[in-house]
Subunit: 731 residues, 2 copies
Amino acid sequence: MSRLVCRINPVMATQLARIAADKLMKHGARRAPASSTICHPCRLRARPLHTSASRRTPPNTTSRSAPQTPTSSTAITARVAPIGWLVGGGLVASLLAFSQTHDTDNPPEASVSPSADDRDPSIPRFRLSDVRKHDANSPEPWVTFEDKVYNITDWVEAHPGGDVILRAAGWSIEPYWNIFSIHKAPHIREILEQYMIGFIDAADLGPDGRPAAESIEDPFVDDPVRDPRLITHTVKPRNAEPPNEELDRTFYTPNELFYIRHHMWVPVVEEAKADEFALTVELPDGEAKRYTIGELRSKFPTHKVTAALQCSGNRRNDMTRHAGKTNGLQWGVGAISNAEWEGVRLSDVLADAGLDTTPAQPEANSLHAQFTGAEAYSASVPLPKVLSPTGDVLLAFNMNGEPLPRDHGFPLRAVVPGNVAARSVKWLNKIVISDEEATSQWQRRDYKSFGPNEGPNPDWDKAPSIQEMPITSAITGVWVGDCVRKVPWMGGGNGVKSGGSKRTIDIAATPQKVGFTPKPETAAPCPETTPDNEPIVLQGYAYSGGGRKITRVDVSLDGGATWDQAELVDDCSNPATPCYGNKSWGWTRWRYNGTLPVLSLPTSTTTTTSSPTPQIPTAIQKVGQDCEDGFGQSVGGLMGQLPKKQCTTLIVKATDESYNTQPESHKGIYNVRGNLATAWHRVRICPECNKGKGGGLVWNTGETYGCGFRKEAEEVREGMRAASASSGSGK
Amino acid sequence: MSRLVCRINPVMATQLARIAADKLMKHGARRAPASSTICHPCRLRARPLHTSASRRTPPNTTSRSAPQTPTSSTAITARVAPIGWLVGGGLVASLLAFSQTHDTDNPPEASVSPSADDRDPSIPRFRLSDVRKHDANSPEPWVTFEDKVYNITDWVEAHPGGDVILRAAGWSIEPYWNIFSIHKAPHIREILEQYMIGFIDAADLGPDGRPAAESIEDPFVDDPVRDPRLITHTVKPRNAEPPNEELDRTFYTPNELFYIRHHMWVPVVEEAKADEFALTVELPDGEAKRYTIGELRSKFPTHKVTAALQCSGNRRNDMTRHAGKTNGLQWGVGAISNAEWEGVRLSDVLADAGLDTTPAQPEANSLHAQFTGAEAYSASVPLPKVLSPTGDVLLAFNMNGEPLPRDHGFPLRAVVPGNVAARSVKWLNKIVISDEEATSQWQRRDYKSFGPNEGPNPDWDKAPSIQEMPITSAITGVWVGDCVRKVPWMGGGNGVKSGGSKRTIDIAATPQKVGFTPKPETAAPCPETTPDNEPIVLQGYAYSGGGRKITRVDVSLDGGATWDQAELVDDCSNPATPCYGNKSWGWTRWRYNGTLPVLSLPTSTTTTTSSPTPQIPTAIQKVGQDCEDGFGQSVGGLMGQLPKKQCTTLIVKATDESYNTQPESHKGIYNVRGNLATAWHRVRICPECNKGKGGGLVWNTGETYGCGFRKEAEEVREGMRAASASSGSGK
């Protein structure tokens, strides 16, 4: 019988502590003792190093000693950052399972294999009920894979991905490998095989020789219920965007519609215990300090910041359609949302923790603030961003005046305004100031290819990690013809009035039926062209990173031949939606109304109006496609052979206060990851004869929400869902 | 006899003082008394308001009293900012001419008109020698226009353009009106006519009834001699850029080649007296403080900052050629240069002057720092830029380790890194912190259309003034074929070696004669195509405003069909050229070498290789032009009708750390001012048969410096000169 001494390293201690805490969180107070505790690091139960004896001889899991009792629940400073968990009235040792010694002489609870089991009889069998006991709180964590059982005790510390592996302890590791798909490689399986200790007992196996599905833990079982209006790209983990017509209807995206970008499950934190959620701050010298949310609230002034968050993959589907296949979630224009965040300034907390927070100190240039969330995701920002007096980096606990929703980081998240949203780490429980960069490009961490294998893209891999976002814009709503009467912000609707702008259509003066839906007496011939006064209204958003204000938005209704300026909605001066912060971190909404160019209707009965007629030489067809809208007049000797202008492309592009503007096409910025798809946003629309359906015109587009269109938002969503399903997960 | 009391306002006092100072500067110590003085504002000589008596009765200019004697030459604080001038050992009252009373009863020195003079004999005549006495130091400044004399005393204070009008006092105002061409309007002449007091004596007029040219002061007479290598766009004021081949040969542009962008003449400051040059700092509450350069040097720590300065019109000629006519100086790619600046931090000085310089204070958001130079140019930056601990705004007196050259602001200039160079005001002698913006768009100040009338451009006028610059890049050198052996940084040349980059061609292994200049045995048939291994080397710069680092430069040799990354020159880690400052304010040089695509040579004997053959339909020609390089293969049914690929377009585009990139074309950002011409830089090159000149190939380009080209730099320069001559002046 060997008694293990304290050998665990500090990093490992915090990792184990966090995972244990997460488990406790999830299972509530089930295991919480009446009193709470902080484990001294040297009480942490260490695993033996790689000896076959220890690897193959799991302890008797029943021999636990009582948890330690803490002496204080206030933030503490120590070289090692112990992480406890506040449950009920005091600190609970999340590490309680490790704060003991144990007997390694007890044999594993192997059973004899039944006669139907033709697997190697010399290898022990374990019941799943036994495996369950070797969870993250156990000194000897086990996992299963297919029908085998593994004691991963010795591997945890060496695991490149860190302690997240303990999330699977006591259960099958398969659903996690499905998330961290880099594990689907032969050499990973070989590593695991080193730790095999036996088979799952045949009594727990189904006819296929595997455990039943219900005996495999679903990591997402505790995810929150989402608003049904969200367009979901993946369910586990959940990735979803608001429908265009809801996205920027108001300046602040409603919390329940704010886009969701998860890499993993949503950690469970009881609402009543939110103030006890703890954040550890570790400085470059290793000094660490721990703050509960309650302490953050009471110790530091709170600030509000208005900021849009945007995924680097926003508009990726646009790049796919215009420049070629991209890997990753096929976001529409909704991987961005705008909110008011409230919390404390990270720089205040760092100063309190003992960091020199003088701005512009050269030492800061080589440091990063690494954020880690309770589900193991991490990302970092350069420290100068945090120390900048105008950087407005928050540790936020409120969103749009309410506590953070679980999907958006409850109870605490980083908010890094102006930077890619991947830096605004949710369920934040650790900050390390380090000279190492923890990038949000999940793929670029140790689990290199989290998500489906995205293929080589050396150019992109060489690029620096994304921090400040480039300028972008999008069309989120189009109203054509009679629908213009329904635009909320142009009349008596429920939207914000545009306040006397000259661009506002006088609805009262607008004929009851404008051009768009003339109903001919018979259902017979279609009109040859669209009316020459067809009104059209567009709205959307523009955003630039780094707090650079949007100063101008240009709109084209004819594929870029002519341009006009859109009206910028001055939301920030609206007393109902004041903007907070030192720079322009929020998005800018814009509106435009104009008149569509006259378009020819197709003479054939086909509804595929965007295909050139077949007699056009291929190269010329291509030209037509490149120009997006075909030729409107005779071309060289080809008069009559080219299609008339049958479609038109609506475009938006924006300019920020640095006079940066968007690239014209996605071809010029194409990357296989489909990141930063910021080209001019184009929405192609085509009129169509509404034959047999009462006559008149309808419009086609597959690219945005619109009123007056045959293809409505649902079809757009369906297309995005299908594209996502075929591309799988990814940043 | 009326004795004038002190009625002059404080602003006027400082204006007059500055002009007087400038005059003194220019004429050295000629008028400087042995002792120096600071005028109390109430000693300032005020002009009477609009009374005909005072207007028509200039004083006896000889009745001057002695100047006041100051008690101290150190910086002083007062509600009004008196400006003196240090000459010799003490302060000289630049206002000495006004610190007195005078007698208005003395008659003007009118002479009788000679018999040859058929002008109205009832109007007085004045000799030019008399006019000269009514200079800026006179209490009654006069000017001439054509053959008339005007007493502008009462107009000076009302002059919308401020005190710069005194620059003409004692002389003809015509050369100034030629600079400030807004004056060439009838209503301006009408204003002047109100102040007419007589004719120039016929004895001073030539046969054309006007004064001789030599009697009209040339405001530019004291401008410095410039390096003959500079490409001059306008002579008076001087606007010039370095030739491409010199521009970025080294990381720091040599001072004598740094581009020159002047709105007016270069003020004269004696080198020996540079430390006595004074800067006045005025705070929002009206408090002002005065610092000599000597005081700035001794009182505040000095800092070095590496920063490129760039005119908003850089690459304007590019926009003209690719998108349409633009007004203003037709800059090539050289209205940008890079230097190391040394001086004191403006925020330190403002703090000393009494301003609250806490960063991120909301009050600062509405304030500007207005800079005014000794020649009357002014521009402002938002105060938060100045107060930012990472903003690096300097009051600089050194440039690349030497005192500022006169052309670059000697003895003091503002340096606002990351912003348009127009904010880095030269010959800086006044800073006012104010809630008013003094924009560098000279046209947008009171003299609305300084420079030629540029026509209406409401879109541009609506835009916010330019501060941070958007990202741009340019090709500054191209070496083709055999010339690749001459690239300085690729072999034993005098350039910086590229340090073992894999992109470096092994010159030793390069054949003596590479493809480019095959000399056929006879001068007879041209080759049908260029060689398939034609080497090409490019170099250039990239720059983004706001201190955003250049992270990537892409190059295409085939008009954008394929791209490759250029090597970024890591100048800042070079011990010989370390970079200073809190952000990436300098430019980034880049280099690329590759192989040109095979091109067909024209079969005709014409040298106009870029014109499509005449049988091609117009629209297809246009397509070919849009695609820049024609078609390389059969197109639809048009096989044989389209030109083969005979030219290729070299392109560079850059990306900064915010992942902002350049617009693809100038069409998308066209503005009639031709500002911010930041599109991908394209250099089109075409091979040509060198018939009758020894055979082989030569290359054509009109767009950059290159080796291996028939049109060399001189032709490019000539084209720019011609374009500038036809477009006139402008920002």
